[in-house]
């Protein structure tokens, strides 16, 4: 292969040797425009990707998703809401360093159909698995079903146990599908029905907050809980 390529290269050099500059350009354009296009396209892509990889905001500083939030709620709790702006101000987030997402376009009920064939549920799973989702607010039965599949942090273990201990009396439990992990119910959510979200009437039948299983900012979730007025008790 190497030898064949060497021979090919030598023969092309020989052909080019007998040509003037204009003829060389015409020859290369005629026979190698596709290669030139490929190299140019490849280089452009490489530069474009590297530029974005190094110079654009790529991480979420805080990502909360309000699942099945009713119609008007996006104005009150979504990305254009005063609630989001208030939290950004309170936490002092710099939006040039990380994005803050208060998502409302998510509609599924894992308790009913396990999220099967539901694009919203699948995108929810992607965001959780990517470790971007910090918290999700939804109805209790929905959260239990999602939590049982291990997509919410177990609030009785590790760092979360200390961090969310003040909310122990509000814990919502689910029995994990993975029986090797636990056969007993584990806390997967915090009831926030009496918080501002409850008072705003966003979730009429109450709501529960779960912390993303791979969240990098559980301490920010705690700050969010305090921000929306879900008070914890000192253990």
């Amino acid at each position: 292969m190497k030898e064949k390529f060497g021979k090919f290269l030598a023969s092309e050099k020989k052909k080019l040797a007998g040509m003037d500059r204009r003829q060389k350009i015409a020859y290369l354009a005629e026979y190698y425009w596709l290669w030139a296009l490929g190299i140019f396209g490849g280089l452009f892509m490489a530069v474009y990707i590297l530029w974005h990889a190094f110079f654009t905001v790529k991480d979420y500083r805080f990502y909360v998703l309000f699942v099945n939030a009713p119609i008007e709620a996006s104005q009150e709790i979504g990305n254009r809401s005063a609630l989001r702006q208030g939290f950004i101000d309170r936490m002092g987030y710099d939006l040039k360093e990380g994005m803050v997402e208060f998502g409302t376009a998510s509609y599924f009920n894992a308790a009913v159909d396990g999220g099967t064939n539901n694009s919203y549920f699948q995108s929810f799973v992607a965001v959780v698995e990517a470790g971007h989702l910090d918290a999700a607010v939804m109805e209790e039965d929905n959260l239990k079903a999602v939590g049982a599949a291990g997509r919410f942090l177990d609030l009785s273990r590790g760092e979360a146990a200390d961090l969310f201990a003040p909310y122990a009396d509000r814990f919502v439990y689910a029995v994990p599908y993975d029986t090797e992990y636990s056969e007993d119910p584990v806390p997967v959510g915090i009831d926030i029905s009496d918080s501002d979200l409850g008072r705003m009437g966003v979730y009429e039948d109450g709501c529960v907050l779960g912390i993303g299983a791979y969240s990098s900012h559980p301490e920010d979730v705690k700050a969010f809980l305090e921000y929306i007025g879900a008070e914890g008790r000192q253990p």
Binding site: Y31, W35, I49, A53, F55, N79, S119
Partner: protein, 280 residues
């Protein structure tokens, strides 16, 4: 003899009646969407089947409401750009890969092509998380590249074009080789133009699937200025969930580009479906 002709004519008339009825049934959802978009909310939720047309005037302002609430020009721009780049990338990569798999001999060809086939056998949802992580790590969330990313290469297109190239006679390529064409010239000047119909099919399929794609734009583009029509509509569902006329006005506006594309490329659409044997 006369009886046979009369029977044939009767069959023809009956066939046409059935086809006309079926056509009307196919059009009902579109007609319902447009008529609902012009009603008041109360009219739209009326269960009376005789309330087909708006009773209290034609409410064109529903279109104005959604047009003002959501910047449709940006949604159109994002959607059309995404479709354009996905079609360009899919056709470019698929035609090259199809030619390589269909006409060239190289070590590991069967193994590599089996990898392509495996990709077709696996549900697309499985790729969502790795693709999302890749786009996220490249810093491409909320960007056009992020939207186009899953469409950069296509296993279906590679397969379609491979079969297209395989169906072409070898003599053509050999004649070009004798005339002094190198591999690039044989590919671009001789072989590629002959797979035009397969490329058109692929382009149409890619365009329709890109237009319908909901999940990917919803994941990678959370920003209102970078999202597409399908994801924008999903968000509107949250905003106008019980205001059916507004929702339907948004849906009507959303399908407009596809209707225009279909009207322009109607012949190619039909040919494309016939060539690939697929359904849209």
């Amino acid at each position: 003899m006369e009886g046979s002709i009369a029977r044939q004519r009767m069959n023809k008339i009956l066939t046409h009646i059935v086809l006309i009825i079926m056509s009307f049934i196919m059009l009902v959802p579109f007609a319902w969407m447009i008529l609902t978009a012009l009603k008041t909310n109360q009219e739209s939720i009326s269960v009376n089947p005789f309330y087909i047309l708006p009773h209290n005037g034609w409410h064109w302002e529903n279109f104005a409401t959604v047009w003002k609430s959501y910047n449709f020009l940006i949604l159109y721009k994002n959607t059309l750009l995404m479709i354009f780049w996905r079609v360009v990338c899919a056709c470019l990569t698929a035609t090259m890969a199809g030619y390589a798999f269909g006409r060239l001999k190289f070590p590991g060809k069967s193994f590599l092509f089996s990898l392509v086939l495996i990709q077709m056998m696996v549900p697309a949802q499985i790729f969502i998380i790795p693709q999302y992580l890749m786009v996220s790590n490249m810093g491409m969330l909320n960007s056009m590249f992020g939207l186009v990313f899953p469409g950069l290469v296509t296993a279906f297109g590679t397969y379609l074009l491979k079969t297209g190239y395989e169906g072409l006679p070898k003599d053509l390529e050999e004649a070009a080789m004798i005339d002094g064409c190198n591999i690039g010239q044989r590919f671009t000047r001789i072989m590629m133009p002959l797979t035009r119909s397969s490329m058109v099919s692929l382009g149409i399929f890619t365009a329709v699937f890109a237009f319908k794609d909901l999940m990917w734009p919803m994941i990678v583009c959370t920003n209102a200025t970078t999202t597409t029509l399908s994801a924008g509509l999903a968000k509107m569902q949250g905003q106008y969930g019980s205001e059916y006329p507004t929702m339907m006005a948004a849906a009507t506006l959303a399908v407009l580009p596809m209707v225009i594309i279909y009207v322009i490329f109607q012949k190619q659409f039909v040919e494309g479906i016939a060539t690939s044997g697929g359904k849209l």
